[in-house]
Amino acid sequence: MKLSNIAALWWIRLRARRGQELLALFGIATGVALLFAALVASSSLTGSFQRTTESIVGDARFQLTARGAAFDPETLPGIWRLPGVAAATEVLEVRTEMEGPEGRRSVLMLGVLPGFERVNGTPAAQALAGNFALLGAMALPAPLAHSLGAGVEQRVAVDVNGERTPVRLASLLSEQQIGPLSASPVAITSLPYLQELSDQPNLVTRILVAPEPGREAQVERALQRIAAGRLEVRPADFEVALFRQAVEASNQALSIFSVLSALVGFLFAFSAVLLTVPARRAMIAELLLEGYGAATAVRVMLFDALVLGVAASALGVLVGDQISRHLFTTTPGFLELAFSFGTERIVTPANLAIALLGGVLASCAAVLGPTVGAIRAARGPASGATGDRGRRRIDLLSLAGLLVLAAGVAIANAGSGSASIGLAGLTLLIVAMLLLLPGLLRILLAVVDLLARPRRGAVPFIATADLRARETRIRGVAVAATGAIAIFASVALQGARLDIQRGMDRSIQEQVRIAPVWAMAPGGANLLATVPFDPPDIAPPPGIERLDGYRGSFLDIGDRRVWVLGPPASARSSLLGGQVVTGDEGSAQRRIRRGGWTAISADVAAELGVGVGDRVLLPTPVPIELRVAALTTNLCWPSGAIVLNASDYARAWGSTEVSALIATPERGTTPAAAARSLRAALGPRSGLVVQTAAERERDQRAASRDGRTRLIQITALVLLCATIAMAAAMAGLIWQRRPFLASVKAEGYSSGELWRSLVLQAALLVGAGCAIGAAVGLLGQRLLSHALTDVTGFPVIYTPAWSSALLACVAVAAAVVTIVAAVGYRAATVDPESGLD
C-alpha cells in the first residue's frame, strides 16, 4: 500500500475515533512533558553555572590560585613574560550581601583590572571594560538591580568583612552586553576598590591566563614551574567541576524522577492506546480479509504510531517547557552557599532529542504491541490466555514477581554502594510490582467474591465478572499499574526526602546549638557561617560570659568544594552528634577539642585514602597535618565536610579572621537577652547580624527545605498525572462498555446497580494499584535512603513513610473514584433498549 493511501486511511479512521486518539495523545504528551521538564531543570542548574563561569573566564584556559589567597606581586608580571601567554589578569571574588530599597540578595562581587577584556574577548568583557574605572562604584546586571530596587547613581548597602558600606551603582548591564551573566547575581567593580571594601589591600583570589592558540601545553608547563608547589594551576573553569560534584546528588534524584515520570507517562499512553485497540483490531482484520499482508497491517499501524508519537511529543515538549518555566524554577538553595549561579533556563539539543525520541518510542511500543496480538487474532482462533492457561500465566508472573522482589529487597537491606546499583534496585522493585499486580488483582477479586457470598445483589458479581474478562483485565491492569508506579514514586521519593530532611534537621541542630548566640555576616549565602571577617575588638557585654571566634569556610580538595567547620574548644557541645559513621563520637570530640585531630566525611576520606587514626595533610593555605579522629556523614553539604578545632583552623589558614562570633550567656540570661546585648555592643554600623541558635536553626532548616522544593513539585505532578491517567483510562473504558451496560440493563438490572458496580470496579483497580505501589514504595524508600547515605554521604534518618503512603493512596484513590463515579453515572443511564440491538 502506498504511503499516500496509508495517510488517507489514517485520516478517514481518525475522524471516527477522535476522542480515543486525543486521549492517547494526551497520555503520551503528559509523559514527554514530565520527562522534558525534569531534563531541563537538571541541565539548567549545571548549564547556568557553566555559562556564568565561562562568561567570567572567557578565553582563559588556566587559573592560578594561592592557598593563602596572597600572590607574590611579581607573579602576574612573570606570567605576562612567559612565551605563549596571550593575556593574564588578576581577579578578586568576594561573596557579599546587598540590600537595596526593595530587596536583599547574596551577590558575588567581581573585582577586575584594566586588561580583563584581553583575557575575556567576549562581548561580556567588552561591556565590563567600561566599568574598570569604577573606583567607589559598581555595575550590576539589570535584572539584579531591578530585584534590589536600585537605579543608576543610587546607593546599595553592601555587607562585606563584617561592615556595611553604601556603594554607588554606576551602571546597569543588559543581557545584550553581558549575555548569560545578566541572569547571575554578580556585581562588577574594580579590583582595588573591592580590596579596599574587603580591607585586604593585596587580596586576589585567582589569576586567569589565556594562552595563544596551540600553545596551551607549553603555557601550562611554564605555569607549573611558576607555581612551584605554592600555587595551584587548574583549568580556568575548574569551578564547573566542583559544581558538578556538588550538584550530583540533586541531579541523581532528578534522574530518578525523570525515569519514573517517563514510566508513568508511558503507562498513561499505554492505557490510552488500549482504548483504541478494538478499532485497530477491526482495521487489521479488515486489511487481512481484503488480502493485504501482515506487513501492510504493521505499516498502517506504524504510521498511526508515528503520527501519534510525533504530535504528542511536540505537544509534550511545549507543555514541559511551560512546566520548566513556571514550576521547576527553584534552585537548590544550599548550593548558593558556595557557588554563584543564575536562574537561566537552558534547553540542550539532548533534552529535546531524548524527550521527542522517548515520546515516539512510547507511542510505537503502545500501538505496535497490541497490533501483534491483533494480527494473530485475525489470522486464527483466539490465542489469548483463557481459563487454566491464563491462571497459570498469572501464577508464573507472580512467582517471577516474588523472585524479583526478593532481589530488590536484598539490595534495599544491604545498601546500594553506588548510584547505578541503587537505580537497578529501584528498577527491580518496579518490575516486581508490575509482575505481582495481576496476581494481587486476582486475590482481591476472590476476596470480593467471598465477602459477597452471604449477600444478595448483583453489584459485586458484575464488577468482578467484568474485571475477569480478558480484555477488561488487561486494561484494568494497565490502569492499576499506572497508579502503582505513581504511588511507588511518590512514597519512595517523598519518604527518602523526609528521611534526608530529618537527618539534615538533626545535623543543623547539632551544628547550631554549639552556642546559644551567633554573630555573623548576614545573608542567605552565609547560612553556614563561612564568610570571614576581622573580629571586632569588643569585650563581652553585660549578660554574656564569654565571646569566642568560630571559623568556617570552603576548601577545594580534588574536585570537591569541602565545607570546613572550626568550632572553638569552648563550644558547649559537639557538632558531631549522630553524624559519626566510623569511630567513637565522644573520643573524637575530646580529641578535636584538644587539637591536632579532625573528623572527615567518609566520602572525602575515601577520596583521600585515609581512615580513622591516619594522618591527613590538608591543602589549606598553610598546609596542616592532622590525625583523623572519626569519619562522619557529609553534615548536609553534598561535597563533604571537615571538622577541626578553631585554633588548628587559624594555623591552617594563617589568619586571625573568624566567620562568626559565638556568645555564651551568663547564668540566668536568656539567649534572646544575650543576643540583644551583643547587638547593642556591636553598634549600628556593624555589618554583622546577631541571632539566637533557635533563629539560626530556623533559617537553615528553611533553606534546606527550599532546596528540595522541586522534588515535592515533581512528586505532586507525577501523582496528578497518574490520577488523570487512571481516571481518563477508566472513563474511556466505561464509555466503550456502554453496549455491555445496555445489555445488562435490558435484562432488568437498574442504573443504580450498574453505577455501583462501576464504582466498585474503579475502587478495586485503583485500590490494588495504590496498595502495591505504597507497599513496594516503602521498600523503595528504604533503598533510596540507603543509596543517599552510601552514595552521597547525607545524614539520613530512616523512618517508613506510612503517613505519606496512606495520604497519597487516599488522595489518588478518592480523586480517581470520584471522577469515575461521575462518568459511570452518565454511562449507567444508557438506554436499555439498545441492549437488544
Binding site: T386, A452, R456, A469, R470
Partner: protein, 229 residues
C-alpha cells in the same frame, strides 16, 4: 399469556418522514406456546419484541402480560418486570465473559438469591442442557452453541412468563440451530412459558406452534411456501 391489541409504533426517519414500524399488530401467545414472527430486516420484528419487553412504549394499542399492562410501566417497574418475568435469548449470546457458565445462567437470580443458592437453582437446568462438564468454564471458553444454551438456562432460571428469542440461531450451523430450537419449544412447553421467536430463517419458523409474517409493520399469516420462495 401475552396479548397485543392494535399496537402501533412509529419513528421519525432522518429525513423527517414518519415511519410506522409496527402498524396495528394484534397477537396473543398462550403459556407453553411458541409463536414465530418471520420477516426480513427492517420489518419491525425486533421493535415488537422491545415493546413486549417494555423497552419501548407503543404509540397506540395495548400490551398485557398475564393481564398486566406493560405499556404503562414506569422505568423502574419495567426493569423489575424484565428481571422477574422476561427471559431473553439473543442472536449474539451476551454472556459475561469473565463469569463461569453457571454464574452466567444464575445472573438474573442474584437480586433474589445469594450466589450459592442461585447457582444451585440453575445447575440442574444446565446439566439438563448438556453443560454438566462446562459449568466452571468462563463465557469466553464456550462454543457458540454452548453459549446459547447458557442463555436459555438464564432465560428460564427466573421461571418467566415470557421468553423473547431474537434470532437465536443466527450464528449457529443448521445442526446446532435445530438443537436450540427444539430445546426452546420443549422447555417452553414444560415451563408453560409464552415464547415469541423472531427470525428470518424459514427453518426456524418451522419449529413454532404458530408462525406469522411481519411485513412493513403489519402481521399476517405465515405461508411457508412464500417464505422459502
Amino acid at each position: 399469556m401475552i396479548e397485543l391489541e392494535g399496537v402501533v409504533k412509529q419513528f421519525e426517519a432522518p429525513g423527517g418522514e414518519i415511519v410506522r414500524a409496527i402498524d396495528g399488530v394484534s397477537l396473543a401467545v398462550a403459556p407453553g406456546e411458541l409463536v414465530a414472527l418471520y420477516g426480513p430486516s427492517g420489518s419491525g420484528k425486533t421493535t415488537l419484541l422491545k415493546i413486549v419487553a417494555a423497552l419501548l412504549r407503543p404509540d397506540a394499542g395495548s400490551v398485557t402480560v398475564d393481564g398486566r399492562d406493560v405499556a404503562g410501566l414506569s422505568e423502574r417497574e419495567a426493569a423489575d418486570y424484565r428481571l422477574e418475568q422476561v427471559g431473553f435469548i439473543r442472536q449474539v449470546p451476551e454472556l459475561l465473559p469473565g463469569a463461569t457458565a453457571i454464574d452466567n445462567a444464575a445472573f438474573k437470580l442474584l437480586r433474589r438469591y445469594r450466589l450459592p443458592e442461585a447457582r444451585a437453582r440453575v445447575e440442574g437446568q444446565l446439566r439438563g442442557l448438556g453443560l454438566g462438564e462446562r459449568l466452571r468454564h468462563r463465557g469466553n471458553e464456550l462454543s457458540g452453541g454452548e453459549r446459547q444454551r447458557v442463555m436459555i438456562a438464564r432465560a428460564l432460571a427466573i421461571e418467566p412468563s415470557v421468553v423473547l428469542a431474537d434470532e437465536p440461531t443466527g450464528n449457529l450451523d443448521s445442526r446446532r440451530s435445530g438443537e436450540v430450537l427444539d430445546l426452546l419449544r420443549r422447555l417452553g412447553r414444560e415451563h408453560r412459558v409464552a415464547t415469541i421467536l423472531v427470525t428470518h430463517d424459514p427453518l426456524a419458523a418451522g419449529y413454532a406452534d404458530r408462525a406469522y409474517e411481519l411485513h412493513d409493520g403489519q402481521i399476517r399469516s405465515y405461508a411457508a411456501d412464500s417464505a422459502q420462495a
